[in-house]
Symmetry: C2
Subunit: 336 residues, 2 copies
């Protein structure tokens, strides 16, 4: 009937229905009728000035770019100002300092990530690294989050031009803290990286392994919170995305295109979120480098959003997943 599984990294429990074999299907949004897109090449004047771009010879805010990074036009955090920490009675707050950026993934209006060329995806992955490195220099910031929302059910915006969101935060998010402390506890007990051990076990067992490439493993996690949740993780130990090398970037571009294409085919273009789980901003004064180097291991979570979260999940942080990850991996392998 069901199993109750614990996610060893975050101490989250998931009830997994191990019998259901009806593959859930996305309900795609109506195809974009947007003919007048501010992210398309030629419309640079309709966005705020670019923060960064990969381009050959043209000048800033002009056509000729490959990947373009701009401020979010509706920022929820502002870049300027001092980071003030205040108490309000028993409560704590900090000022709304941070960064809100949009990484436009292509000059052309291509609705699906997997339709971009390998070269184009490589440039996008390089832009991720460059933006994270740049924002790491700002010591008001604690965490740089890179994520994608595809489809309205996943919180995607009205603009279906391919893009990635970036938010830089002045406090470390609770889920990141859970992951760091789960990994740290395991390391202090075993003196081995938890994620390296997970990769080893998944490759050995094979039933939750979707595929491996030269540098990455694609896995449906043991305690998947969502049907067809995926983990894309570098096979070698690497604590921060900023350490990714050119060979890994080449490989990751192909891996992500393959993953999104097989999801599209198997699940009928599902809404999804992609989240890059990186180390937090390093604080040299706390000597964090050495600790994190040993006990964290960056990875990408891909979460199809084909069902709704109820009061149960909101109230508990406990999840119900009605499609077992072993079955999900098997379905995906058939369509590779």
């Amino acid at each position: 009937m069901s199993e109750v599984r614990r996610d060893i990294v975050t101490d989250t429990w998931v009830i997994i229905d191990t019998e259901n074999d009806v593959v859930p299907q996305g309900v795609p949004d109506q195809p974009g009728k947007q003919t007048d897109c501010p992210f398309c090449e030629g419309n640079e004047q309709r966005t705020p000035n670019e923060i960064f771009a990969i381009r050959e010879s043209s000048s800033a805010n002009q056509p000729g770019w490959k990947v373009r990074v701009i401020p979010n036009i509706y920022p929820i955090l502002q870049v300027e100002g001092n980071l003030l920490k205040t108490g309000v009675g028993v409560y704590d707050m900090v000022s709304g300092i941070g960064a809100n950026e949009v990484i436009v993934e292509s000059p052309r209006h291509t609705p699906h990530f997997f339709e971009l060329s390998d070269e184009q995806v490589r440039l996008v992955l390089q832009a991720y690294r460059i933006r994270i490195e740049d924002l790491h220099k700002d010591n008001r910031l604690r965490y740089i989050l890179i994520f994608k929302n595809h489809g309205s059910a996943a919180g995607g915006s009205l603009i279906d031009h391919p893009h990635t969101d970036l938010i830089a935060l002045p406090a470390t998010p609770v889920r990141v803290k859970q992951k760091l402390s789960g990994a740290r506890e395991y390391f202090s007990y075993k003196e081995r990286c938890l994620f390296c051990d997970i990769i080893q076990q998944e490759v050995d067992m094979g039933d939750r392994l979707v595929f491996q490439s030269d540098h990455f493993a694609v896995i449906t996690p043991f305690a998947s919170r969502f049907p067809f949740e995926l983990l894309v993780i570098p096979r070698k130990h690497q604590f921060s995305y900023t350490l990714i090398d050119p060979d890994q970037i080449d490989d990751l571009a192909r891996v992500l295109k393959r993953v999104f294409h097989v999801m599209y085919l198997t699940l009928n273009d599902p809404p999804y979120n992609l989240v890059l789980n990186d180390s937090p901003n390093l604080l040299p004064k706390h000597n964090y480098w050495t600790t994190i180097n040993d006990d964290f291991h960056w990875h990408i979570e891909i979460i199809p959003r084909m069902d709704r979260r109820t009061g149960f999940e909101l109230g508990t942080g406990f999840y119900i997943n009605r499609f077992a990850p072993e079955r999900a991996a098997s379905v995906l392998r058939e369509h590779l």
Copy 2:
């Protein structure tokens, strides 16, 4: 522009937009055309046999009841069996033991909770207490969760007959653990209940207080994760819902009806979740009674679901709330 606020209980951070004053509105589901409802009086044979009912003289599974508790027809956990804990390499799991119940709130098909009579809501609240007490006797279970999903965007079922869900779990959920440990840390430092201090502060400050009754306070939390999130909390210290007395039940029935009516009027019948946050199942052998008695304080969370969670929230446990709780309290007070 915005403030980044910390929820002192769970260590969750929320970015609050302090300027937006556009009140979000629900998009109600189409009114129920269900003429043939298994929860209506007279259709008792179409559900599994009742576990419990409040009825005067009629016999079980016959018409004449006021509140009826039945097993969920699609249980995700099963009641029978031993609780087995297993390791799978680095992972942990327990067998899918637990309870899945539905508390049918009225013999009649009334779409809105606030349309029930005061007396009917009192009986529903009594049924909550009776079911929790009964399930506490089962030492395989760790946590009894009572919740309501109203509207499809909140994960509500197709059956719009008023009902509450109950799930009894074999492991303590991570959000409950966060709340317990947040409250315990505060207590060990201050020797006072964190929730009692929050009530005191909110009543003194007043800007997030929606209203007070004889026994309850209704508050928009300082670090509300969702626009118009509400906290309904007993004014006197009480660590478990099972200790609620008849006067409090009378009062809570009126308070909840008032809250749902004002939400209906102000937010256009929004989808919402209600979650009863109670103490976990007590384990006498661990001497939990005394600890919990001091440092937890039961409460009800009500969460309107007018926006979608994106990869940002899923990846971080950090939230963005585009309507400040002080404004929400003020809007609700105007409509009381």
